[in-house]
């Protein structure tokens, strides 16, 4: 089973026997016959179980229909109908696909007779759990890395695996905005303006477990009263996602890039899906997903084009993102020291050091995404060190300028201008967030679960503006828009090039000129948007 073997490069790969309190509790709904569809190595359910065992999962609850148990699970039911630990498989399990054993991982099986009971079991698990709870359909065929985006994330966030494609029976529609699921559907609940599909994997963070339980119970009551139309019992994850979103829980849309994750029905679909998994190089896809981001032109083409090799090397050497940040600061200090010498060779060496420092600056974030080592401290260090590096380089350049004619006022002006530009960005973003919070406090037309309809997105009337802006988000116009605002990559390149071929005075004048244009451009744009 090559596709369940994990690349152990990730942070703290989950070794057997290392189950921790923060690990996720997974409820697998094996209530449809699809769970028993054969695939290489057993059934879909067994395949999924083997994948979950390699992830930080501490409990696995399988929910099945009494009559429809398959393969190894059927034998389990014979010998242990309610619950059993995974460390002692019964002797009568068919040898075909022995269930993976993990020390300390609770592995339970319960039977349920329908949708309402399925939902109540989820509610019970949510009430009982002290860590994140995930709900999965057993007919999910996914790369382990796709599941890991949620289960291996250090903060075990509330999120749902969302991908593109047209909505279908096992791909309910969702609408996402800014990486959040803002509306989710199923065969009863509708979604206006869908822009993605939910792929059957939902994780609910510890903070939202109570809401999950409430929502699951409410849905169970509705299902019992036949208040959910023609909803079928394969839609438990979909219903729960709708419930959470309508209850106002922020649900991240976990993007999986070129990885696969989809639910299947029918034997050929299952075989095709499993075969398609093998066509994707999983570690490669994970690396690409980590490197890809909406960076500027210089960062994209002069750094991210080759930084993946550095990311892989750093991961192999076991470096943490924070250590890479440290190396980046060190290189910037070296650049500043060379710049402070002022001679041509020194300036060229300084420029090279500055470029490498910026490469490592990009690598730390990519490494964090690749190894899933996010921490607030890491994010802060990265951001604050960026500022520190830049201003230290300004000081080095000013120190190295030929004595006699002072360049210090220019250096200080460049620093103030840069801080101002950031402050405009931050302050506008803060103002937008404040406004959103005020809106949320004032009118909160939370959608109830017993009505099918959905509110269309509020910005719909600005459709033409959005469409225009989206049309500009391609090709040359896209890059021009990014370059005009002199993002950090362009700034570093500007400093390195002007310092290498000219002197500090030219560098600061270039920073002030371009930065001034950028400040005017962004401020004017934001003012226009404030009145829109």
């Amino acid at each position: 089973m090559a596709d369940v073997k994990r690349d152990s490069m990730g942070a703290e790969p989950s070794k057997p026997g290392a189950v921790r309190d923060t690990d996720t509790v997974v409820v697998v709904l094996a209530t449809s016959p699809s769970a028993g569809l054969p695939c290489p190595g057993g059934s879909l359910l067994e395949r999924l179980t083997a994948q979950l065992v390699t992830l930080p999962v501490r409990e696995l609850h399988v929910v099945a229909r009494g009559e429809g148990l398959t393969g190894g699970y059927a034998a389990w039911r014979v010998s242990a109908p309610e619950e059993r630990r995974a460390d002692g498989p019964p002797r009568d399990v068919p040898d075909a696909w022995a269930l993976p054993l993990v020390d300390g991982m609770r592995h339970t099986l319960s039977t349920s007779d329908g949708l309402a009971e399925d939902l109540r079991i989820v509610a019970k698990s949510a009430r009982a759990s002290t860590s994140a709870v995930a709900v999965l359909a057993a007919d999910v065929v996914a790369h382990t890395e796709a599941l890991a985006t949620l289960f291996e994330h250090p903060s075990r966030p509330t999120g749902a695996v969302v991908a593109g494609g047209d909505p279908g029976p096992l791909r309910p529609p969702v609408r996402t905005e800014w990486g959040r699921v803002v509306s989710a559907g199923n065969s009863f609940h509708e979604v206006e303006w869908p822009n993605g599909t939910f792929r059957g994997v939902l994780q609910v963070g510890e903070a939202h477990l109570a809401t999950l339980a409430d929502v699951a119970e409410e849905l169970a009551d509705l299902a019992q009263r036949r208040g959910l139309g023609r909803v079928s019992d394969t839609e438990v994850p979909d219903l729960l996602l709708t419930g959470l979103v309508r209850a106002g829980v922020p649900v991240q849309a976990a993007a999986i890039g070129s990885l696969h994750c989809s639910r299947v029905a029918g034997r050929t679909a299952a075989e095709d899906a499993v075969r398609d998994l093998a066509r994707v190089n999983e570690p490669q896809a994970r690396l690409e997903a980590a490197v890809k981001s909406g960076d500027g032109f210089f960062a994209t083409y002069a750094v991210s084009s080759w930084s993946r090799h550095v990311v892989r090397l750093a991961a192999r050497m076991g470096l943490t993102p924070n250590a890479v940040t440290g190396f980046s600061v060190g290189l910037a200090a070296i650049a500043a020291i060379w710049f402070s010498d002022g001679h041509r060779t020194a300036m060229v060496v300084g420029a090279a050091a500055l470029y490498l420092s910026f490469v490592l600056d990009c690598v730390d974030g990519q490494l964090a995404r690749y190894t899933r080592r996010f921490s607030p401290l890491g994010g802060w260090l990265d951001a604050i060190c960026d500022r520190l590096k830049e201003y230290v380089v300004y000081v080095g350049l000013a120190l190295g300028y030929a004595p006699g004619a002072s360049v210090w006022p220019l250096a200080v002006s460049a620093m103030i201008l840069q801080s101002l530009r950031h402050m405009v960005d931050f302050s506008y973003a803060g103002w937008v967030a404040d406004a959103a919070r005020r809106d949320a406090g004032r009118v909160r037309p939370l959608r109830l679960l017993d009505v099918p309809w959905d509110d269309p997105p509020r910005q719909q009337k600005a459709g033409t503006v959005l469409a225009l802006s989206r049309r500009l988000d391609k090709g040359a116009a896209y890059w021009l828009k990014k370059i005009v605002v002199l993002p950090i990559g362009e700034r570093m390149a500007l400093i390195a090039v002007t310092a290498a071929v000219s002197d500090a005075r030219v560098t600061f004048l270039a920073l002030l000129g371009w930065g001034g244009v950028a400040l005017a451009y962004t401020t004017a744009g934001r003012m226009a948007r404030s009145f829109a």
Binding site: D361, S375, G379
Partner: protein
Amino acid sequence: MISVHMTPVPRSAVVAYRDDGTLSKGMGLLVSGQLPPLPPALAGAFVTAVLLGLGAAGADDFAVFAPAVALLLAGAGSSHPHDGRLDWLVPPILRLTEYGFIASAGFARDVPPVLVFALLGAMAFHHYDTVYRLRQHVYAPPWLAPAGLGWDGRMLVVALGGLLGLVAPVFVLLAVYLWCLFGWESLTCWLAAPRAAGEAAEAGAPE
């Protein structure tokens, strides 16, 4: 009896980014929040610029009065809600006023430029840190704003140094004090932040 000290969550990001000191907040309370924030902030920046221009050109330094004027004007808008369409311009305007005044005062009185950089760096560190904290829900304790003197307090201290002819020593003292205060407080706070403080941790991409 268990007492729990909770760090208050700022109600408005824009107001938090203002970085008001005690005096500025007092001015806002004095007019009981009746003054919208943007016009007085603009006026304060304008008057500061004019006084700096006069001070740099003229024999007598009018610029030492700039902080008081800026405080009287911009401070008065501090407790009004910052919900006007352009109120997000207020924090950048306050930064321009403060940084511009400090830099001009430093250069006009021949303070070593590295020192000017050091003092501006301490202030910028705090202002960036304020933003990053709000983003990742690692809120600053309520005593930090008065202890950091606020934009108003820092400008007044430098102006006082100007009146007494002690600009360079004041720059040294202020830079050391602010770096120690902001650096130490921020570092301890971030080191104590829970590892999994939420989804915002991912937003650490450059810029």
